[in-house]
């Protein structure tokens, strides 16, 4: 047990010190990884615990980002307004759309969320009086904490990851709570769950709304970090990325989402140094992970961990 606390403290120290020793562009990537983790957690909850493929996360991400952008730049409201309005808007949209759509199952539901993503993107382009369309909205003010403006990657890193840790805690507790049990019942034995009077439709809708909350939160952070939002950041590709993050990392693991986010942000950066064919390498790496580690990257960790532990084990431990 003491080992665990020591490990925890060490881990936190390493996390706190990292932005001071890494070059600026890598800290920048870590900030994006943190933001994507928040969005990916929502998708992971839906997929890992409810078996629902949500390809509309980019829409909620966009709603959070645009709410912040519009309110702080066009209206001059304080940043907290952007956060609150964005979250409420995203959750309302999720509720209104989720209720009819979540009646569908399987691939139909996946296609419906994909359709939502395309509709959302089209509306972001179309309603350019609100979103700025292709030109986007620039000049979003930086957040402030303790009198510091969070205007460098180093400073924003702490905010982004603190939010990410809080969300991870939330997701972890949810998965291990009684509600989490209901999720798993619904996912693994839906008929039995129905017979226990678990209202599955309402449960799925609630998780969908929570996923939207995570998405809009990530969007808020994103808008304040880059100070500029435009439609190109909220495409169907982004939805695919969020899905990749949760599946690649390991669908049922909160920590896996972090690994997935780090994979998605860091691997392309390293590969791009190798030449123009780096996208090909990224695709191949993706295939390798999917084929080689069916449980996600997290299972790769476990594999290494167990191998290391097994080697250290004394005979009578076995």
């Amino acid at each position: 047990m003491r080992w665990r606390y020591a490990a925890l403290v060490l881990g936190l120290c390493a996390w706190a010190v990292l932005p001071f020793i890494l070059p600026r562009n890598l800290v920048d990537l870590l900030v994006f990884a943190g933001i994507y983790t928040v969005a990916g957690l929502g998708v992971g909850l839906l997929l890992g615990h409810c078996g629902i493929v949500n390809l509309a996360q980019a829409v909620f991400y966009g709603i959070g980002a645009y709410a912040t952008a519009y309110l702080t730049v066009e209206v001059g409201a304080p940043s907290i307004a952007g956060f609150v309005v964005g979250a409420l808007l995203a959750m309302t949209v999720a509720l209104l759309l989720g209720w009819p759509i979540l009646r569908l199952t399987g691939y139909f539901l996946a296609l419906a969320t994909l359709a939502l993503s395309i509709i959302g993107n089209a509306l972001f382009y179309e309603w350019d009086w609100l979103t700025g369309g292709t030109l986007g909205i620039g000049g979003i003010p930086k957040l402030e904490a303790f009198g510091f403006a969070l205007d460098t990657p180093l400073r924003f890193y702490y905010l982004a990851w603190l939010v990410a840790f809080l969300c991870m805690l939330l997701a972890h507790n949810l998965a291990h709570s009684r509600t989490g049990l209901m999720f798993r019942a619904m996912r693994d034995a839906s008929d039995a769950a129905a017979s226990l009077a678990i209202d599955m439709q309402w449960l799925r809708t609630r998780v969908f709304v929570l996923c939207a909350f995570f998405g809009s939160l990530a969007g808020n952070l994103f808008a304040h970090y880059t100070s500029f939002v435009s439609v190109q950041s909220f495409t169907v590709d982004k939805s695919f990325s969020f899905l990749l993050i949760s599946v690649l990392g390991g669908v049922r693991s909160v920590f896996g989402t972090v690994i997935g986010a780090l994979f998605i942000t860091f691997l392309p950066e390293y590969l791009s140094r190798l030449g123009d064919f780096h996208q090909i390498l990224f695709g191949l790496a993706l295939i390798a992970v999917v084929v080689g580690l069916p449980g996600g990257l997290v299972s790769g960790f476990d594999l290494l961990w167990r191998k290391a532990a097994a080697r250290k084990a004394t005979p009578h431990d076995r």
Partner: protein, 295 residues
């Protein structure tokens, strides 16, 4: 609004719709045979069309031979994917998400490969029947568009006959519905799966070749074809090639009619919203229970 405009919209809708249907038929075929959703179906189309372009342009093969080469390339790539990746993952009983991720990874790789090896340019193929066009009721339809419509309908019909009348087709269906049961009657399930991917590959490549004279082909087109094809297939119940044709035509007509009747700004929004509504209210696909095998 003139009748000429409506007729033009209908013609455009059917032409585009059958384009989507061709891609959707490939997705349906692969799903029918393996229960895998192939997110890289559009890449079969792009690669098949590109190979035809190369064989015709650089190797100076006769057109029909170049088309054959392009179509066969789809079969080769499909077979390779099945043998290299799918077989292994099936043995380890990978989850449906893993297969989706596999095909996403292959899609990224193939699209990037086309950009890297062939370049960023768009290419066209010569239209079947020449550059001519026919005018009917104030609307124009090119001869290639007519060829595309005829070919798509022909392929749909042929596929249906294949699955229901030939031994091979029946065996492929059996292998996917009940692998163990099929095995007991002597069906080589693994080989059926390989053949399914080869078939899906050919269908995808042919779709790309048929479409290129009208829309040109470039490295970035694959994903959009896949999305539209996916929509067509789902509307049709996902395992029914005839359904994919109906679904595709429906989608195409919705798009073009929404454009002329409502506004070109909201075309996608309208068409996709109707798609979602159809999915909710017609859960067995547009052809009813007989056509459906969804989630």
């Amino acid at each position: 609004m003139s009748s000429g405009l409506i007729v033009q919209a209908v013609l455009a809708g059917i032409t585009n719709g059958l384009t989507y249907a061709l891609v959707g038929i490939g997705i349906a075929a692969i799903f029918k045979g393996t229960r895998i959703i192939n997110v890289m179906q559009g890449e079969f189309s792009v690669t098949g069309a590109m190979i035809t372009v190369l064989l015709l342009g650089r190797a100076s093969w006769p057109y029909w031979l170049a088309i054959l080469g392009g179509a066969l390339s789809g079969a080769v790539i499909g077979t390779a994917i099945e043998l290299l990746f799918v077989r292994y993952m099936m043995r380890r009983q990978a989850s449906p998400q893993s297969f989706i991720l596999l095909t996403i990874g292959i899609a990224i790789t193939m699209s990037a490969s086309v950009l890297f090896f062939i370049g960023r340019s768009g290419y066209v193929l010569p239209p079947f029947g020449g550059e001519g066009a026919f005018v009917m009721l104030d609307a124009v339809i090119g001869s290639h568009a007519l060829w595309l419509i005829a070919s798509a309908l022909g392929i749909t019909l042929a596929l249906r006959l294949f699955y229901h009348r030939t031994t091979l087709g029946l065996a492929m269906m059996a292998a996917s519905i009940d692998a163990d049961g099929a095995a007991t009657t002597g069906v080589d399930v693994a080989r059926m799966r390989t053949l399914t991917f080869a078939l899906g590959g050919i269908l995808g490549a042919v779709a790309g070749i048929l479409v290129t004279p009208l829309t040109s082909v470039d490295f970035a087109m694959g994903i959009n074809l896949t999305l539209k094809g996916f929509a067509a297939a789902i509307l049709g119940g996902l395992t029914n090639p005839l359904g994919a044709a109906v679904g595709g035509i429906t989608l195409g007509l919705m798009e073009s009619l929404a454009t002329v009747a409502v506004s070109s700004s909201y075309k996608d929004v309208v068409a996709l919203s109707v798609l979602i509504a159809i999915m909710i209210f017609m859960p067995h696909g547009m052809l009813g229970r007989a056509g459906r095998r969804g989630g």
